[in-house]
Every structure is written in structure tokens, then in C-alpha cells.
Symmetry: D2
Subunit: 390 residues, 4 copies
């Protein structure tokens, strides 16, 4: 057992779960080019198999998020059984109102009531799927906005958004929740209808207790202090979920922790500070990434490990010493306590702990050593590789 990882820390790490997205296993790219790779899944079942492999090797990814209609199947019960047999659950249901020609100028915000109706109905269908899959969360990311000043009536759209969301929210039952994601820009280039946490917060606050904000770490303006938002949304009781990834510029969707590991550390520290890793936490932790040029399954393995590792480091922060230094106005002492945890190498201890739980010490090496990749490359021949359109 690791010397640095106390039983209290291990108890938190033990229950840590990071949901993986089905679409991470399909092809992705930029507007310039999408590269295909051998072994890419061709249907939701194959995506789930890949997700299960990530969980099998890491013990960190017990559920997989679905995207409708990309992951639409005739029998979601069968899909659920398939997942369960592989040791994982079906998780968050993601709606999609950005790939239909009708949505060119909006969906939940559209001027035309018939388009709004269609978009609302799509979300109601998503809740039907949730009923079938046992999913708790409906996650809504809206690509809506405009490209040119004057093109759209931002105020009217905001009001229509509120009305549409209210209809969707009313359909939820039991402990089902609605997550509203915000994004600074893209695919719209002048205005976006839900561009910041404030807008998402105002909209979900108007809906009710089971509506929350989804924070995607890549969806902010340059220089934004993301951990501050994490703090604030927890304080307001409205942080519903994370979409983890990392970025250098825009919404790069790189592996979480790859661009700025210290930022991920600070985010996890603030999550812990706000109780977000407590046993009764209501925050869902998910990945939302694109593995454009790297191996997708291994990319997912590294991602969940990055979150685990930075969580472990954040748990190492000596809170008493930190608080004492903060109270005394000793800037350098407080910062030193903080940095000491970040700089501590927990990888060896985590590897030992993994082994003690019957997991590979090095899940990436285990994946590389296994025949999983070569097997799917051999098997998944023919058909159409899954991507953002399928």
C-alpha cells in the first residue's frame, strides 16, 4: 500500500467514477479532415465494448454516456444488458440538435414554433431512452447561435429557450435530471445562446432543483479561472456535471490534463473543497474528448488515469497547514502547501494500490500488451466506422 495515500484518501479514490462518452471511440477530427483508423467501432455495441475495456483495465469508468441519435438502437434494453454483461452501466443521455437541416438557425430557440416542437420532441424521446436505459441525466448542449450581428434576436431566443427547456424539464420523473451545458463559441461565431455559466445558471435556476449546469472544461474564454466557476456553482448548489477535456486555444477537446495538469489539479482541489467528492455527491464526472490523432481506447485510459492522479494529488493537500497559512496572510507558505501536493509523485503508490485491487499496475501498458487492439482491427472490417454523424 502506498505510503502517501491514507485510508481516507483511498476511500475517496475507491468510489471515484468517470463516465466515458461513446463517441470518443468513433472517428473525429476538424473541419479540415477526419482520419479513420482501423478497429473503429461501427455501432453502439462496439463502442460499449471499448468503453468496457477501459473500465476493465482501470476500474474507473463504470458507465458510458450515449448520444442520440448516434447511438440509437431498436432495443435499448438489449444494449443495457450488453453493457451490464461487460460490467458497465449506460449513463448520461446526450441530445443532438445540431445535425439536422431544420436546425440551421436554431432548435430550442428557433423563431418557428414547428422547429422548436421538433427539437423539444427530440428531447422527450431522449427521456424515453433514459427510462429504458435507467439513466439519471439528460445532458443538453445546444449549438445554437448566429454568425453575424443582426442575424438573430438574442433576447427573443433566450425567452424561447426558457420555454422549451421548461417543457423538457416537465417530462422528467423520479430522480432524473437535466444538465444544461454552456460553451463560449463554436459552431456559432457571433453569438451563442448559452455562452457562459451565468446563462446556464439563470436558465436552470428558473427550472427547478433537478436542473443543473454542466461544466465542460474546454468551453471558456482565454484566461478564465475555471476552478472559480467550479467553486461558485457548487456554492450555489448547481454544479451538475463535468465534461472533462483540455485545450490550448479553443475547444480543442484534448485529453484531460494534457494541456495544463496544474489546472486539473486546481479544479479537483476545488471540487473536494466544495464536497464534490463526498460519498453523497451529486456531481457527475464525465469525459468529452476527441482522439483525432491518437489511439482512442488508450487515450480514454490515460484520461481517466489523469483525473485519478490529479485527484490523489489534490487529496494530499495539507488542509490544516493551508488554512493556517491563508489566515496569517503568508502568501508563499500557503502557495507552498498547495504546490507541495501538486509536485508529489503519486504514480507509484497508485500503481501499487491498483494491483492490490486486482487491476493492472499500469493500465496503458496492459492495454498495449493485450491483443484487444489487434483483435478489433481484425474483426471490425466492413461496415461504416462510427463518427459524429453515426
Amino acid at each position: 500500500m502506498g505510503t502517501m495515500l491514507s485510508p481516507e484518501i483511498l476511500a475517496v479514490l475507491e468510489r471515484q467514477a468517470i463516465e466515458v462518452p461513446s463517441w470518443a471511440y468513433g472517428n473525429s477530427g476538424t473541419r479540415f479532415k477526419v482520419y479513420g483508423t482501423d478497429g473503429t467501432p461501427r455501432d453502439p455495441f462496439e463502442k460499449i465494448a471499448d468503453a468496457a475495456e477501459v473500465n476493465r483495465l482501470t476500474g474507473l469508468a463504470p458507465s458510458v454516456a450515449l448520444h442520440i441519435p448516434w447511438d440509437k438502437v431498436d432495443d435499448f434494453g438489449a444494449l443495457r444488458t450488453y453493457a451490464n454483461d461487460l460490467g458497465i452501466e449506460l449513463g448520461t443521455i446526450n441530445s443532438n440538435t445540431f445535425q439536422d437541416d431544420d436546425y440551421k438557425f436554431g432548435a430550442l430557440t428557433h423563431e418557428d414554433p414547428s422547429v422548436r416542437r421538433k427539437a423539444i420532441d427530440h428531447h422527450l424521446e431522449c427521456v424515453d431512452v433514459m427510462d429504458a436505459t435507467g439513466s439519471r441525466d439528460l445532458k443538453i448542449w445546444l449549438a445554437e447561435g448566429s454568425n453575424y450581428p443582426g442575424q438573430a434576436d438574442m433576447r427573443g431566443r433566450q425567452d424561447r429557450l426558457a420555454e422549451s427547456l421548461a417543457q423538457i424539464y416537465a417530462r422528467l420523473s423520479g430522480d432524473q435530471r437535466l444538465m444544461l451545458e454552456y460553451k463560449f463559441f463554436e459552431p456559432s461565431f457571433y453569438h451563442t445562446d448559452v455562452p457562459d455559466w451565468g446563462t446556464s445558471y439563470a436558465q436552470v435556476a428558473a427550472l427547478g432543483d433537478r436542473a443543473k449546469v454542466c461544466l465542460d472544461t474546454g468551453h471558456h474564454a482565454p484566461g478564465t479561472n475555471i476552478e472559480f466557476i467550479v467553486m461558485q456553482l457548487q456554492r450555489l448548489g448547481k454544479l451538475g456535471s463535468f465534461d472533462f477535456n483540455s485545450r490550448f486555444y479553443a475547444d480543442d477537446d484534448l485529453i484531460v490534463g494534457a494541456a495544463d495538469p496544474f489546472q486539473l489539479f486546481r479544479i479537483m482541489f476545488e471540487v473536494i473543497r466544495g464536497g464534490g467528492l463526498d460519498a453523497d455527491t451529486e456531481i457527475a464526472f464525465m469525459l468529452d474528448q476527441c482522439h483525432n490523432v491518437e489511439n482512442k481506447i488508450q487515450g480514454q485510459i490515460r484520461s481517466v488515469l489523469n483525473v485519478q492522479e490529479m485527484t490523489a494529488r489534490a487529496l494530499l493537500v495539507d488542509h490544516d497547514a493551508l488554512v493556517a497559512a491563508q489566515r496569517s496572510g503568508d502568501v508563499l507558505a500557503a502557495n507552498a502547501v498547495f504546490m507541495d501536493a501538486f509536485y508529489t509523485d503519486v504514480r507509484g503508490d497508485l500503481a501499487q494500490w491498483r494491483e492490490s485491487r486486482g487491476l493492472p499496475a499500469d493500465p496503458e501498458a496492459a492495454f498495449r500488451a493485450s491483443d484487444y487492439q489487434s483483435r478489433i482491427e481484425a474483426e471490425r472490417v466492413g461496415g461504416v466506422q462510427a463518427g459524429w454523424g453515426a
Copy 2:
């Protein structure tokens, strides 16, 4: 009378008022250097004289904002009379908790209750001043934050901020209001306690109806769509006031409209869209600028004229045509209606209208032609020029 400016437009322009800040007439600069200039005011009375000159020439600036303690005088009644005699009112009272050694690590958010008490008391004193000056608004900009990760407990500070604000809010009476300004960064470089509109909104929403957000146009992350925030805060009933200025990089505090006139046009359009220029508007329009290298009085004259001119252009937008184009999804037609108003040169019509009201057609030229500047340069000799510290 101008051919383009309809009676309806002129009715709006007639009541337009932009409050000027007393500190714009004092010296300002960067951390590297503050340049002094001949004629700079040496006390609040001289600042008010300069502000009155701006109003005399433009008819646009009927009130001046004060900054406590910079503008502290023994007898605010006398100051008020002095202002009234010059044809202007005393306006918003701005508190200052960023220049006392006690506030090095916070004021309303400080760990130490005695420092918080001092900062709260300062605000209560500001309300006393409001009672004396007849000011409606207390504007709070907080320089609080931290420079290094770990230095401060962001969550605790946010909670203490809420408590401190509640005490200040409780002191207001009648139609007095509290404005909470947000700022992306500076003077703190890691975290700022009120960094974005969402935080300001959440804090003032918890206080009550007479607490609102102050939007400073220079206080956002690069690329932020400010007019969207204008729309959203109006929609939520929480846009209390504007601090106008412009910027290319950070909080440059340049003349409003100087860096991006089209942005100012879009902001004014959205203000109008939300009813913010209606006769019963509750939004206060103010300047908050630094004239580091240019003539300060003339800089203020140009600033209020820029706001007036962009307001006039925004009022020219053909709403029916715009709505029709928006509804039909005709992107270029909608944008064209919008741009047509922006590109229309209203300066000649505004000059004519000014003359018809007994104002100089060209207030800047009138100022240059007058002996005001040479007179104050001759008179204001000796003493200490006012700056951010006085």
C-alpha cells in the same frame, strides 16, 4: 432639424444622460508612470467644475460620480450646492477598499472580521454621503482576490462577501440602490472575487430588488460578446448601470467607442431592444475612463458624444425590416439592415440638432476655441494635482 432623426429618435436622445466620473479629470496612468498635466484639478470642487464644463458644452452629462475617499469633503452639502449652481447633480457614490494597507488581502472578503468590519463601515459611510448628496446609487467595485493558487480560500471569501454585502444593503433606504461591479482580473492576478457577471448576478440576486449589476465594458475576457450580457442582465431585471470605456487588451480604460465603435453600436442596440432607453429606465449610464495621454476634459466630451452618436445610429435600425429578415432566415438581409444603421453618418444631423437646442454644433471645437483650458492651467497652480490617490 436632421432628416434622419425622427421625433421619436430625438425624444430618446433628448433624455439621454451619461454620468461622468470625477476621477477622469485627475491624473491617471499605468504602474509604470503617471503623467501630470497643467490644469489638473486639485480638489473635488475643481473636478466638478470640469464636469460641469462637459455638460455645458454637450448637454449630455448632467451628473458627476464621486469616489470616496478621493472626493471626501467636510461639507457635502456645499459640494452639492456648488454642483447645482454649475447645472449638474452629484451622482453615484463609489466606494474604495483597495488603497488601504489593511486591505492587502481583502476587504469585504477578508479572513479577519475586524478588517471586514472596517470595510463594511466604509460602505456605510458612503451611504451617509449618499444621504447628503441625494445620490441614488452606491457602486461597489472590489479589487479583492489573490495572486497565487492556494493563497486564498475562494469559497470562504465568496460566503463572507455575501454576508458583508447583506449588511451594506440593509443600510440603504428609499430608492437607494447597490451596484456590484465585476472585473475579469487586475489588480489580482490569479483569482478575483467578483470576476464575471454570473458572480455579480448571483450575489445581488441574493440581496434583493434594489441590488443590481454594474457592467464595465472593459472588464471581460478576450472575445466576450458583451451585448449578450447586456441582453441577459436586462432580461433578468438586473442590469443596474454601465461603466463605459473601451479596450484593445485588458482594462485599458480608453475613450468609449475608441477601440471598437461597432461594439458600442451593438451594445446600444441591445440596450434599446431591452427597453434600457425607455423613459422609465432604471439603467444608469456612466463613463469610467483614464485619460493618461490625452486632454482629460476634451476626452470626456468626446466620450459622451461617442455614446450619443452610437445611440442615434442604433435608433436608426429599421426594426420591422430586421424582424422580417430574421424570421425568414435571411442572414445577409438581416445583417444588412443592422449595418446600414451603423454605417449611416448621423454627425451632421446631430450637430444641427445641438444648435437647435442652444448647444455648440461641435462641442469639442467649442472647447478648443474657448479659454477654459488655458484659464485652468493658469489658475490651478500650486497644491497637489488630484489622482487616484487623492
Copy 3:
């Protein structure tokens, strides 16, 4: 004839030419969705027909840039004749090394000599096309870079880039030129091999006199003063061409002048200051835009008109007054001279001038009034609409 547009100004406007890109007429979009529209060209000939229509209505777009292989035809001589018959020329040849699987990890910079050879050969083939089309310029935009720190050896790539470019440059003959475009980011998200003007400048300076920098107005970091770069590259004799477009966030590829008309004005002012609109200018002016949600032909018409209009305004700057104010350190006077030109509405004068030259006063209205769009929508049925892949 317009009262404001002097014969000297009209002489400059008379010779103004803005090259349009063939790909602007095809479909484009974001990584999330590409919308198709009726009437979209299905081959290079149809793109050229659309480009010719833009020129017919504006008199501003006498040439069209081609993109290889998107615009590859069996007989470029026939394509050239087709264009000439419609009154336009074939212009810049754009290479493409970002859509072949071999280029996943680089082209001119690739570790593997055989991939570099392939990429160099592609450029040599582009020069062959130039020989056939009579084009002067080869424009090279490289999508090369990496997504993760450590993924690539940036230094080795820079050296290989120099070697590859030298081979391509050596193939040029007569007055043919090589333009190296830079871009801040995308599609690579950690490092880009030609990310800034400095890199492009250093590379082309090493090649020789006929190698220049291409400045795409959308390819800079937030806050970059683009007109400064325009000034500097002209001063260094290395500004070869412009790719015009506009952006609010990243490389949005919106209509030039749409996001910040004042910036376009400042850029054109600096072009004029540096002699870039003189009769013997070597600077090529081009559009590089995506009309994702608006009519493509009309979008191109508006784009060239925006450039013309901001050029006219920039030509109105009273240089003597400006220089005098600058020399005397009168900040506001200098700025006022500058802004006066920007705020002057030249649209009426330009319309009159157009009519005097046998062009429609309002080219956009003329396009809307014509049956061109309805005709191509009726005719261009079947086949595959052109996009970034064809």
C-alpha cells in the same frame, strides 16, 4: 460623381482588385455540420461562373483563386478559356497537404522523407498548373503541427520545412512567387509549424526575393494588432498577399469587415501608408471565407464591397492634418482626423460612381433582383455539391 471621392481617390479605387476563392462557392461548415444549399457548384467550371457573376456586378473581382486538388481538371487551358470568356482570370494556386492520410503527422515537415517527397511533388504539380493557368502566385498554407507536447520535434520540423520550401521555390520561374501563410492554430492544437508572421518571415527571407508572406486576417492570437504586422511586413518588403475575412473568436472565416469594420479600415489605412495600393503594388488582395449559413455569391459580393468601402474611407484620411497632429502630440486631434474618415458615409458616392462606370449602383440588390440564383438552383441538380473535399 461623388463629392467626397476625388479623382486621386477614384484612380486608386479604379484599379482595386480582390481575388475571390473558388471554394467560397462550395459548401463549408464546422466539424459539427456542413449544410448543403441549392445551386451549389458541382465542379470548377460552375465555381468560376459564380465568381464571374461577382465580378460582373461589382467590377472588383477580376480573378479567381484555385485550390488543388479540389479544382483539378483535365485541361486547365480549357478552364482558363472558360474564365476568360466570362471576363475573369485564373489567379493564385493554393496547394493542399491536409486531406491525405499520409499527412496525418505532417507533409513538408514530416519525419519520413517519402512523405516529404510526396508533399513537395504536390507543390511542383501546382507550379505546373500555374504554368498552364498563367497564375503568378503559389500560396502555401500548412495544416502541420501536433496536438500534444512531446508528440513532435518542433525544431527538426522547422529545419525540414526550410529544406522542403527551398525545393519548391527552386521550381518557380519568371515572375512566379511563393506565398507562405501563417496561422495561430487549427487544425493542430498544441503547436503549429508556421504559427506567426515571424516564422513565415524567417522562412521566406531564407528563400529569396520572390518568396513572401501571406497574411490571413483571421489567423492571429486574440488582441493582436494586425495593422502593425501589415506595416512591418511592408517595411521589410515581404508582404505578398492578404487573405481577407473576419472573426470574433478563432478562425471564424466570416465576411471581411463583418466583425470589426474599424479594424478593416485601419488595415487598409496602413496598406495605403506603405504604398500597398500604389499602381506598382506587388501585394495581392484575396478573400478566404466560408459562407456556412448565408448565400455564398451574395456573401462574396458584400465582401468585396466591404473592402472597397473601407478602402475609400481610408483614402479620405486627411494626411496633412494627421501628420501635423501627430507631430504636435495632439492625441485627440490626430485620432479625430482618423475617425472622421472612418465615420464618413461613402456609400452613396460609391453607388453613383459605380453607375457612372456601367455597374449596378447596388450590386447586392442587383443580384437579388436577377434570376441568377434561381437559375443555378434549377440547373445544378444531381451530381455532388462541391465542398472542402471536392
Copy 4:
């Protein structure tokens, strides 16, 4: 001796030297407030004493940079002797043309030849100082620029800058060098005369071999890949020196490595890749920071330790494994080699190594345990604390 730090690595660390700036020990702040602290030096001798203490505890800071006129003394020989007696050298001489009223509108770029003459003469005087102090480098950071479009003729200023620099360069003798620093913005808010590495490079390339670029890590646009610039300037033979610090937003001047330790690691990796830590390196490594709210001496100690630590980590990168992964296009393997070095905790090994060399294992703790701070607080009473103006 540490197990991870090979003799080859230790040989590099052994010769590592980071110059500290005299002004870091004086008071600094923002435009809003400069906080004074007990013990702040009151003259150049006291600054040098503090710098010597940093070197005594770390063995990393054998020289101190001076700033003229802040550090002007009657007898630089005496100052040099004083420094030498304390075990350090006088290093880079920094000129200052941003605090004299004459320079309000420029210094080396000013329209007025007499102001340019004065600014050039100031630099010649700085070279005189270099002759007296034995300094190799003259570092020039220019605050010059403009706040409003039209205010200045950017092109003329660039030409005048070239002429002024040529006169200064001509005065150098022996192995003296000229370093030209660039900065994105501040204190100018519209244009800056040396805003980017490309401009600095073009200017120093025109001067000659002994003119180089100074790269300040805080002087870039948001999102800039700084290590790419490090690579490029080394490749071009023009990287003269570093000004180390860190930032979240603008030029925050925080402790190097504090905001993004991974970025510092990447920069040091690229320095090593380019030979910048070889025994014959010509690159000077300096700090340029402001300790606004933290203890200044301890802040400097931590800063040089941060550079040392990230250098050690960067030296740990397994180059053979990295190159092999890069060549094979194995993105995740290459990134893993890179990250493994970054994540390795070298602090214990460095502490041991320090002790083996007669240095404190933990220099910060040693400083805190010493009576140095309490002693200077007691001694340095009366007089005027040094700041940016003295």
C-alpha cells in the same frame, strides 16, 4: 546523491545561473496600489545585499541586473566591489526611457530628434556603466507606443527605432551585447513599437551579430506557444536572454513557474533541445518579476528554485525513447515519455545534491529560519524604500 540525477544532469545543473533583478527587492504593485513592506531596500547596495542572500542560499543566482537610473550610484566601481565581496557579480544593465515626461510620446521612436537624442544618450550612458561594472549585456525594453488609432505613425516610428538602435549598437565594444525585449502591450494600449518576437528579430537582425532578442515569458498574447518561439529564436541564432516570470492574464509578473509549471518545463526542454544549456551557451537567464504581496527575498529564492527544478525534470526526458516514439507516429507514447519526466518528483534528489555542495537542502526554510529578514526590518528604518521610481 540522488538516484535520478545522473552525472551528466548534475553537470548541467552545476553551471546553471539565473540572474536576479535589483528591482525585485524594491516595492512594486499595480496602478491601483503599491504596498510597502518592512525591510525593503533603500538604495542599490541594500538591493545587492538581498540578491547576495538569494545566491548564498541557493547557489543559483551569481549575478544581479541593474536598472538605470534606479540603481545609479556615484561610484559603480564601489558597487561592483561591494557585490563581489558578497560573492556576486553585477550583470545586465537595463535602460529606462519610460519615466521621464519627455518620453510621453516615445523615446527612441519619438518624432522629435532632440527627444531621440536624449534617449540615445541615455543608452550610451548605460554602456558607460557597463564598462564600469563589467557587464556584458545592455537590455532595452521600450514602453513606446500609442493609445489611440491615428495617434502615431507606426511606420515612421519603426524606421526611427532602427536608426536609434544602430547608434546605440555602434557604441558597444568587446563582447558587449544589445538585447531587445518585446512586449505584447502595456503601458501602451493601442500599438506597441516592439510588440512581438518578429519585430524584435527583424530589428536586431539588421544590427548585427551582437544584437539579440530578449524573451520575457509574460509578454505574449493569450494562448501563445512560447516554447515554439524559444525554439525558433535559437534556430535563428538570436535568442539572447530570458526574462522569467509567469502570468495568468496579462504581464502579471508572478513567480516563474507559479501559474503553469508545465509550461516552464516545456520551455526548459526546448532550451535544452536547442543547446541553450550547453557549456558554451550565450543565452542569459534572468528573472523579471514583481513581488507585490509576497516576501520579496523568499519570492526570489523560490523563483530560482522553480527554474532549477523544472530544468532537472526537463533533463530527465528520455531522448532516445522520445525520438523513437516521434518517428513512429506514436502520439501517446511520445507524450508519455515527455510527461513522465515532468511528473517525476526531483525535489528530494535536488535537496540531497544541494547539501552535498554545502548549500541548505531547503533554501526557503533556511531563509525563514535565519534572522536575515528580521535584521533588515530592524536596520532599514528611515529613508525612502526603493520602488520603480527609485
